[in-house]
Symmetry: D2
Subunit: 337 residues, 4 copies
């Protein structure tokens, strides 16, 4: 951590601050620049509160040197993490393909789609039971009934199931019923939920918040890991920008950046990213080409009658042909799909 | 709602879509433009799912005419809402001044600050007991002990207390102990929490999410109101933009915009907005000048030792002199402070 | 164009507005909704000024139906445009690879790099002579001397040259010396420059502004095309977002979106997008996988001593190996490189 | 400047980099942290190219300590700059009120509005002759004829005139005819134009680019000042964010921030900020309350028939009543209007 003092900071205030910081077990190097004085902090600065130092009126700015996350940090864990999901894997040489409808609507629907995506080569089934909707007047999901239907589809196809949790009181049920628990973008900083999930061992697919920085995203992963659950999968799903032709802007650079900063697997959601069915194919191909460990794609057998997100779902035959192309791209990096 | 068809949409598809929409009790006007056909929908279109229509491959875009919120909408409720908080009010001619520390730290601290802000004219005491922190390694608040200390401070000063809730399992306790329940920016779209709060009657101070649009903000208020609790106070606290000299960018225009679209009171948080103590004064004055119904300000007697947000807290004497200026600005619009 | 009246708009004002719009040769359909009245405009609405209508105090909002660009619009020009650059092409089945240093530094440097990228298969040479720099104290390019060196490199290798223009007074010189004139992101809305370039016939590589919407980007292309020069190449180079780990955020979705809305070729700049050498490779692969017509890449033989943008330049051997991978990805779509 | 090395940086590479930097007349302090090594640079680091250092593959990040602008920097020029405009002033205790139509349309129009705003107390007349328009099909201004009409209005009222320049070839004419030359947001980084304006002595009203950071904004001012013209007025006019209910988002915090970082006067444009006539009044009041040195406001006698920006113009009587309120707010800080 580097503390830049204001040019008008009196010497005694600088010394006072230096001594205060040293009490937190850091060594402080004092460097006198041309116009101002700089304090260079050495030691475990993750325990030092940047805001507290910035509250000092003689401090101009504080700059972090060390990343504030530890367990998610590749620096202390150089090898890629491969997450085991009841025998299937996320991370490593096999691309994880997670496919299925936005929301579970009926037994017939979820089983038909599950069979179809499995046939095309998907490794996991997605489907929303609890649905976060912007409007209180929109369909909120089949909830517990939806969970039961997902279990039926798993029984039928053998595909592990991935579904979203929306509140901590459902954790016991999810741990029992679900293979991968998804935390949605809007709950990425629901810290009470993250803490509770940290007490389980179930793999967590953590979606990046709509306007979360890479660092905040990794800090939310850190919340879960610090609690004891290191099975975290990072999912980029488009961020909010000024551009509104697309619903969100897929931050494709997040793939190499996250993989450089962290050892956790990175999965892309090409459906929510732009929010339009006709961009799913090019974005999926781009994600695999850029090194993503997997994709989570909305597939629906009848998008125009889907209860939600029909506009960004692709049909099963489109998914099938896409799988072919993705396999070719993956093979360039020596991966399979 | 207006549906714009693609130029290549076959006539029979347009007719099919028209008929499908008419089943949802809307009248559909078909207007043939130069290059494409447009459907104009009349009736209660809040029940119609925009995404579902956009899933039709012959639809180019869907544009909403009607605002999707009803209870929060000034159109159906032309007069300003004034919220009663055990005799005190938010909204109307008296500016609501909510002041206090970022977090409750000790009995001495909270009582000293409470007395001081009361003396300067504040009408409400703020103070965090449950703290949402980006890092799992940062101080997470005194939690239930913090709530007890707030109650002591209320007893001592008579000031109603405003504090943040972070999970639905605390609602009963908050309803019993707290005068205004705050929902933080990171939980603005924690829909399960909003639904539960809708079942109470306690006033809710709802903070705008870091990247929530005005419409999404009002839809979150709508969630609470649709549940039966119409005592919602809107709080703008800075949004995330590309500019990072300031922590967030105060969207000052949100004041006139929210007041035009909704009848709910609008409060500004000048502390989190820019995140620096020296911008609190100018932003507070700007907010009152622009027509805000109140302010929620972080005041701390020893910012450099505050357990959080010290860098954006002002000292009691600064708060006192600020109150004087704010009173003069308020009086221009015939308001008091 | 759809005009939404305010609910309180008096009938005579609606009629007055309707008549005023009809004078501009549009047919106006009046649709009475539940809460407000809507005017649907038919005809060539690109001549109607949205702002003028919104100035009417009884108008709530105006929504455009028709895209405001004509010559750049795929609707009126369904087939992909292929731009001829003295025999080479941009657009079509052969991916255009434009490579070279950020800025021309010396004869030796530009010729060495030109030979090297040609050997690896690049089809065009890039190199900055006039450099837009944020600081007046930074290297501003070799300017006219740089142009001469580019011409030498072209003579030596046969590669057509692409370089940036910064002011209209240089147009004659550029038309004479350069094969493709680049308009930088910061000049995307330098309308006087665009108008003058519209009078030439030289291909223009138009970079998207740092915060230009897709529509504004296409309107800037329209400026050039409306002047008579239809040889415009669109270049996405990263947009500005709240995320600042990367310099900019590559809007990868812009590729399918631009290709759907327009017939012009789309080229990606993976170097400026994230601004870091180690993201160039994954972003290049992603761009080709998503359907880009070409790439413009910074290659430098000694990045650590480059006069600018060294941090985002790759070395010649990296470029060579990248070309191999890109060829494989391109072939999946039946393209060559 | 602080250079953070990667944890895997070999010692000899660190030494090599240290020596290279020392050749640029900086002293380099080497601090060995827990996981990585840090170089602290002392001296005039504005000449050191951050990008060049970041091109070194063993460098993790470079952080600037010193602001890169000198002439615009309050550090080296502690007192507020007051700009003299032929006897009138911008900066200091008298608020500069610049008012007039978006564009000059006719002799009658400009003279009528000029008289009216003067009567209400405006000190300067604004009016566009050269108009930057997103669409090539929109009204582009009366251009030279517009300049002549502005001169007539000045003759009639005595108000100094402020108008926008769009290309460097017009500078001689503007220097001769105009009192304050405006550089529009879209030309804030038209560096060739800035350099040429730096050679004049005419006051420049420099508008912040739509997505320019505070630092980039001050660097553009620095371009003009470095050329020799220190008469620069900074104008915040709204930035581009994800929120699109308003056309732009007024960055009200920019007022205290710019005034802390720089000695140059700060003027706010409340018309372009949100882009709607009904937000002009609250935003104007907020700007003065937050400490702005002036306002530039669009006033039109017939907004609904204005040739541009009618939707964000206020009428003369509204301007008059606004002036009254602004005077009261200004007086709280001991200023006049």
């Amino acid at each position: 951590m580097v503390v830049i003092m204001r040019p008008d900071a009196p010497n005694e205030e600088i010394i006072r601050l230096k001594e205060r910081i040293e009490k937190e077990n850091c060594i402080v190097n004092l460097v006198q620049g041309e116009n101002c004085c700089i304090l260079g902090l050495i030691g475990d600065t993750t325990v030092i509160d940047k805001d507290k130092i910035e509250a000092n009126e003689y401090v101009d700015r504080v700059m972090k040197v060390q990343q504030p996350y530890k367990k998610a940090n590749r620096l202390f864990h150089p090898h890629d993490t491969i997450i085991d999901v009841n025998g299937a894997t996320i991370g490593g040489n096999k691309i994880a393909m997670i496919a299925g409808p936005c929301s579970v609507e009926s037994e017939e629907q979820i089983i038909e789609i599950a069979k179809s995506v499995k046939e095309s080569g998907a490794g996991f089934l997605r489907g929303g039971a609890f649905k976060p909707r912007t409007s209180p007047y929109s369909f909120q999901g089949l909830r517990l009934e939806g969970l039961e239907l997902l279990k039926l589809a798993r029984k039928e196809t053998g595909l592990p199931i991935v579904t979203e949790i929306m509140s901590a009181d459902m954790i016991d049920r999810f741990v029992q019923d679900v293979d991968v628990i998804q935390v949605g973008a809007r709950n990425m900083q629901n810290f009470e939920l993250l803490k509770e999930l940290g007490k389980t061992k179930t793999p967590i697919l953590l979606k990046r918040g709509l306007c979360a920085t890479i660092e905040e995203f990794l800090m939310s992963a850190e919340y879960i890991m610090a609690g004891g659950n290191e099975n975290v999968i990072l999912c980029e799903r488009g961020i909010r920008t000024y551009e509104n032709y697309t619903r969100n802007t897929l931050d494709i650079s997040a793939i190499p950046v996250l993989k450089r900063l962290s050892h956790l697997p990175v999965v892309i959601d090409p459906s929510h990213s732009a929010g339009m069915w006709w961009t799913v194919e090019p974005l999926s191909k781009a994600a695999i080409a850029a090194g993503a460990d997997g994709l989570i794609i909305e597939v629906h057998n009848d998008p125009a009658n889907a209860k939600c997100d029909g506009q960004q779902s692709i049909k099963p035959d489109k998914f099938k042909s896409l799988m072919g192309d993705l396999g070719k791209i993956a093979s360039i990096d020596g991966k399979t799909i």
